[in-house]
């Protein structure tokens, strides 16, 4: 009986009340805010992803250049066989020096004379205070010529 009276009352009323409208507006605003925040985060993630791809591509490119230098290096066994890794490092520094403005750093390690260790470090695009590394080890092809 009460429900029928209310339904009748609603039939009698015309449209939503102010409270309903405000509630609806609040809901829409919340949804829109979360959407916009997600959009902003998504755009930032895309930008970070792009930066990461650029950095990693540059590092891969540098590694390939160094491998090319190793392959094309003259097999000067007299100069290189005492420490092939040092020999290759010198060639790399001469022919492919680290460029100013790179978003990554490159260091060498020749503790093992038969392996040139190259460490690339870069700040993570997602959190610039934290670092990421790529380590490449190259056995100089000259070593195969050494007696």
């Amino acid at each position: 009986m009460i429900i029928q009276q209310r339904l009748r009352a609603q039939h009698d009323s015309s449209g939503f009340g102010i409270v309903e409208v405000l509630m609806a507006a609040l809901l829409v605003m919340m949804v829109m805010m979360s959407v916009s925040r997600t959009l902003i985060l998504g755009m930032a993630a895309n930008r970070h992803m792009g930066e990461r791809i650029n950095i990693e591509s540059e590092i891969l490119n540098d590694i390939e250049i160094i491998q090319g230098i190793d392959s094309l290096a003259s097999k000067d066994t007299a100069a290189g066989c005492a420490n092939p890794a040092q020999y290759l490092q010198n060639l790399v520094l001469l022919k492919n020096p680290e460029k100013v403005g790179n978003s990554w750093d490159r260091t060498f390690d020749v503790v093992d004379p038969n392996i040139l260790v190259i460490v690339y470090s870069f700040n993570r695009p997602e959190s610039p205070t934290r670092q990421e590394k790529r380590i490449t080890e190259i056995n100089p092809s000259l070593q195969a010529e050494c007696q």
Partner: protein, 528 residues
């Protein structure tokens, strides 16, 4: 107070009549639909962002895994190609589930199956561990993303196979995350890499000075660099290298009947290796040929020289120096041209006419100098004497001699690389008494020469000496052969021969070291 668009609409409707019942509440439905759409969009964007982050991390791990595989290959190469800790024999062994994990075999198992059974087996546990795999992170976290879990990379040799001169590695590269042992695998990559193998002989002292499948060396000696290489059948002789002392100087010395201590210490057995082809002297040579009288065909000239020729042994020639065209049966005497006093001189101008810029190849049916005459081949070019038929021979009895000299000179040159004696006939005899293609020498009858007779015999009938190299199926020198391998100018015979005859870099006979050479194939990565 009521406020609504529907009120106005309804007001209009009321003024025009009663609103339809099924149109009531449309605004609410539209609002709900709009909310669902907005919720869907926001959820999609959120999912995309999460996927982007995840993809970024995943791509980094994959790159680390590929780098790890490549780094692992480089570490293994550095070990296998290291001359200081020579473990190059591993290049020729299998290390896979199908053909066996031969790198792990005991020395007794390995020796019979190796091409060089007396190679020092120097694989240490430390080196074996590096070959099997290991960490590549150099004690650092490769990805500091705020988590306490370290990101590391490592490699593992999955398989190694060798076929002929091609080696194939399969190496797993692994990117891991976590501090536990072992850490959780974030990504894996499988690298397949093929390399060319090359046999290298480090220096002249590792080359074969004497090489044969069968030897009776007696008091023979080698003065200068070089080894005595014993070529053995792998199936027959392999098991004899199981005992620990099978490579001792005394055991090997007994195999070749040697008594000289220095020579015994220089014996190097090879299993399943054959002598090089006589073709190593055939390249870039001119063949001695002519047009016999009465013939219109240019033919190879066949030489038959005997300073004590039995009567009626040849058709048409009883002289010391006889020759014929290869298609002729009758010989012509050449004494008037080439024999003078006690010396037979074949001048450079008479052999390989019009091709004197090249080494000259003479086909020899017989050379027999029984102590009466000296045979001098006086040419500024190197000369190859090649035996013509399987049962023919060159027999030199001191004080006769056969040697090369400069054109117009009568003094024997001491450069072994100037005179090569080769034969590829013969029947690989198993005793020194067997009739076969044979080079017999005594005293200093052959002062300097390179000798290559893969199926023939070199026989020192009495104590003999010469400068050069002797590679033959059989060397019979119980009377003693003093071989000198240094050159008169202070170099060595092997290096001179390699240079003079342009031997291919692939040619090797002696103690070889195997090297893996890059640049012949591409890396193939497979992810899973």
């Amino acid at each position: 107070m009521k406020f609504s668009i529907t009120k106005r609409i309804r007001s209009v409707s009321l003024s025009q009549g009663q609103a339809k019942a099924d149109e009531q509440g449309v605004a609410l439905i539209l609002a709900v639909l709009m909310s669902i759409i907005l919720l869907g969009i926001s959820t999609g964007l959120l999912a995309k962002q999460l996927m982007t982050r995840r993809n970024g991390a995943s791509e980094s791990y994959k790159q680390m895994a590929e780098t790890a595989a490549s780094n692992g290959l480089n570490r293994i190469l550095a070990k296998l190609n290291n001359s200081n800790t020579d473990i190059s024999y591993l290049w020729r062994l299998q290390q896979n589930d199908q053909q066996g994990l031969q790198w792990n075999y005991s020395n007794e198992q390995l020796r019979p199956m190796m091409e060089q059974p007396c190679t020092p087996l120097l694989l240490s546990q430390q080196t074996a561990a590096v070959l099997a795999g290991g960490d590549l992170s150099h004690n650092s976290n490769l990805r500091d993303d705020g988590s306490s879990e370290a990101v590391t990379m490592s490699y593992r040799l999955r398989s190694y196979g060798v076929s002929s001169n091609q080696a194939t590695f399969q190496i797993e590269g692994i990117a891991s995350r976590g501090n536990e042992t072992p850490p959780a695998i974030a990504s894996r990559s499988l690298l397949t890499r093929m390399l060319a193998l090359k046999n290298v002989i480090p220096d002249a002292d590792h080359w074969a000075a004497l090489a044969a499948s069968r030897m009776e060396l007696g008091a023979s000696t080698i003065s200068g660099p070089g080894r005595t290489v014993l070529l053995l059948n792998k199936v027959d002789a392999g098991p004899s290298f199981v005992p620990t002392d099978s490579c001792s100087a005394s055991t090997l010395g007994a195999r070749v009947g040697a008594t000289d201590t220095d020579l015994k210490a220089k014996i190097w057995p090879l299993l399943g290796v054959e002598l090089p082809s006589t073709g190593i002297f055939d390249q870039e040579v001119a063949v001695d040929q002519f047009t016999p009288s009465g013939s219109s065909t240019i033919q190879r000239r066949i030489w038959n020289i005997d300073d004590n020729r039995p009567a009626n042994s040849l058709i048409g020639c009883t002289a010391i120096v006889c020759s014929r065209g290869e298609l002729e049966s009758s010989y012509k005497s050449q004494d008037a041209l080439y024999v003078s006093n006690g010396t037979i001189t074949l001048p450079g101008s008479a052999i390989c006419v019009d091709q004197q810029a090249k080494p000259c190849l003479l086909w020899i049916e017989k050379i027999k100098l029984s102590g009466i005459k000296k045979l001098l081949i006086a040419s500024n070019q190197a000369v190859v004497l090649r035996m013509f038929r399987p049962l023919e021979s060159i027999a030199l009895v001191s004080p006769s001699s056969l040697c090369a000299a400069n054109s117009g000179e009568t003094t024997c040159r001491q450069e072994a690389e100037r005179l090569a004696i080769v034969a590829n006939g013969g029947d690989s005899p198993s005793s020194c008494a067997a009739a076969t293609q044979k080079l017999s020498i005594s005293g200093n009858a052959l002062p300097a020469a390179l000798v290559l007779m893969p199926q023939g015999t070199v026989n020192a009938t009495t104590s003999a000496s010469m400068r050069g190299l002797i590679w033959a199926h059989q060397i019979c020198a119980t009377a003693g052969l003093a071989l000198t391998t240094t050159s008169a100018d202070g170099g060595n015979v092997v290096d001179k021969a390699k240079t003079s005859w342009h031997w291919n870099e692939d040619l090797s006979l002696g103690i070889t070291v195997t090297k893996g050479m890059r640049g012949t194939g591409l890396d193939m990565f497979r992810r899973w």
